[in-house]
């Protein structure tokens, strides 16, 4: 069942809202079978994303965020529930969903423009046209002048921008990102956040960001879905009513601080549970 995004409680989503959504995740349950028995990674996770909306999914480590990313991206099957894009059920990688991965994922043997042109090459776009279109997306992520460089010659932040440009080049309806800036320092992360906001505004791009970083989520999102520690459930969906267009300057505002505090109060309990469980596991491992 889909859920509404307002208030502190998760409530069933009215049918009309679910119908307007570009992405619907409904009653997602994912179980893994391990040597120690079954583990429920996601339990009854439901939400919707409207066209042009920026939704951030936040939760402590081990809450099943990356599992959710893989399910929505169509890379992971074997779950209960339903994921649909524009009413069409997702049963594998879907052309309307573009994925940006947490791990560095540029092709080291291709230069920047050839990396970005990759999905166009797969789609059979003629070389001259695809290079031209790739240059447009390279420019959009602010990498003008680096077209002929190889990933090894770029910084971590630049490489993630190449990955993002490559995904944007496939012109997906939904851009799905799994902690794309997790490996970067805070200042670079804030500045890249500006770039993401700029791109979203320019393309009116629907975005779904998986993150564990509260400031990043508040800086970028229209709504934040807070997840519980294992099993991952929807704890609360928070509307972020900060003005748009936004930049990283918003982090110094009072309203921003209030949202961060509110989300941290929700996450604190879950993160503490995660920490206790991790310590308990480490203790058991030490005893064995």
């Amino acid at each position: 069942m889909a859920v509404a995004s307002t208030g502190n409680r998760v409530t069933p989503l009215p049918r009309a809202e679910s119908d307007n959504a570009i992405l619907v995740a409904e009653d997602i349950v994912m179980r893994f079978h391990t040597a120690e028995g079954g583990v429920v990674a996601l339990d009854d996770v439901s939400f919707t994303v409207s066209p042009g909306e920026f939704l951030a999914v936040i939760g402590p480590s081990g809450c099943g965020k990356s599992t959710l990313f893989n399910i929505i991206g169509g890379l992971l099957g074997g779950y209960d529930g339903r994921v649909a894009v524009a009413g069409e059920k997702v049963s594998g990688p879907h052309p309307s969903i573009g994925m940006v991965f947490q791990e560095e994922s540029t092709f080291p043997w291709r230069n920047v423009v050839d990396n970005v042109a990759f999905p166009l090459e797969i789609a059979g776009v003629p070389k001259r046209e695809r290079i031209e279109r790739a240059r447009h997306f390279v420019s959009m992520v602010g990498l003008d002048g680096f077209e002929k460089r190889h990933p090894a010659e770029l910084s971590g932040g630049m490489r993630q921008r190449v990955s993002m440009a490559r995904t944007l080049a496939s012109e997906p309806k939904i851009l799905l990102m799994d902690e794309p800036f997790a490996a970067l320092d805070e200042q670079t992360r804030l500045l890249l956040g500006d770039k993401v906001l700029q791109i979203q505004q320019q393309l009116k791009q629907t975005m779904l960001l998986i993150t564990h970083n509260i400031t990043e989520a508040v800086q970028l999102a229209d709504r934040i879905l807070v997840m519980t520690f294992r099993p991952g459930r929807v704890k609360r969906i928070v509307d972020i009513k900060l003005p748009r267009p936004r930049t990283s300057e918003i982090v110094s505002s009072e309203a921003f601080g209030r949202y961060v505090a509110q989300i941290w109060s929700d996450l604190r309990e879950e993160a503490s549970r995660g920490l206790v469980e991790a310590e308990s596991r480490a203790r058991h491992a030490g005893e064995n």
Binding site: L75, P93, P95, M99, F101, S105, F107, P108, W109
Partner: protein, 254 residues
């Protein structure tokens, strides 16, 4: 600008100077009687013998024959080595069953099987090519498996997210990702192949530089023998440079 120019020519100059310095050192040690000149000839004598070896021993025909045998075995071990490596990577059962055996053949002295190859292929270049091919095959297979198996998961996920077909996944991601490791295998295979080409030519007294080394050694022409060995090194250098160029070209085409 000047620093960049210096960076360009300095390494080869240092390399060449080191080589000349070593030869001079050997020359001095031999002349001082510290190295037996009946085992190691004077480098100056080796240098002087080049003209004689080239003029009297039909060196270019022999050089080309050895290079051809090396090229033929190199092409065979590249094609079959990569194909078998891909097959073993794809079929897990086959890999588990065969990988150890393939690794074992890498260190086996296959050259000792030359009488069998003489029976099968006669006293011809084919015997030499087939033995060299088999001797160099294992490293190409093993390095192909390693290269494909170490392709990063996230790159494959990128391919899946763009809905690549199995063939596209192989040619656009697996293969270019594995290419540097595959080329390590090809270079190792070529080294094994060249050793076996020269070794079998020497053993069966046929054809190229191996036979020439045999003949010159029989005549106790030590400077000539060492000069012929220099031409074997030249074959090795030619193949090393060729594989390096091929790798660069294939990588840029990936």
């Amino acid at each position: 600008m000047a620093a960049r120019g210096t960076q360009h020519w300095l390494p080869p100059v240092v390399g060449l100077s080191t080589f000349v310095a070593i030869l001079l050192g050997v020359e001095i040690l031999i002349r001082a009687g510290l190295i037996n000149r009946f085992i190691v000839p004077l480098p100056s004598e080796v240098l002087a013998s080049f003209g004689r070896v080239v003029a009297e021993e039909n060196i270019w025909r022999r050089f080309l024959l050895t290079a051809w045998e090396c090229l033929a075995s190199g092409l065979l071990l590249t094609v079959f080595g990569i194909a078998l490596g891909v097959l073993l990577h794809r079929v897990r059962l086959l890999r588990l069953a065969c990988e150890t055996w393939v690794a074992a053949t890498a260190s086996a002295p296959l050259v000792l099987a030359y009488p069998l190859f003489l029976v099968l292929f006669g006293r011809s270049s084919l015997t030499i090519i087939m033995l060299a091919f088999l001797a160099g095959l294992a490293p190409v297979i093993l390095k192909t498996i390693e290269g494909l198996a170490t392709t990063r998961r996230v790159l494959l996920d990128v391919g899946r997210s763009f809905k690549l077909t199995r063939a596209q996944q192989f040619w656009k991601i697996y293969f270019p990702s594995a290419l540097p490791t595959i080329f390590v295998g090809i270079r190792l295979g070529l080294i094994f192949a060249l050793i076996n080409v020269v070794g079998v030519e020497f053993l069966i007294n046929f054809g190229g530089l191996g036979q020439l080394i045999n003949e010159l050694a029989e005549r106790y022409d030590l400077p000539g023998t060492y000069a012929a060995i220099c031409f074997v090194i030249l074959v090795s250098v030619v193949f090393f440079v060729t594989t390096e160029r091929a790798e660069r070209w294939l990588t840029s085409a990936g």
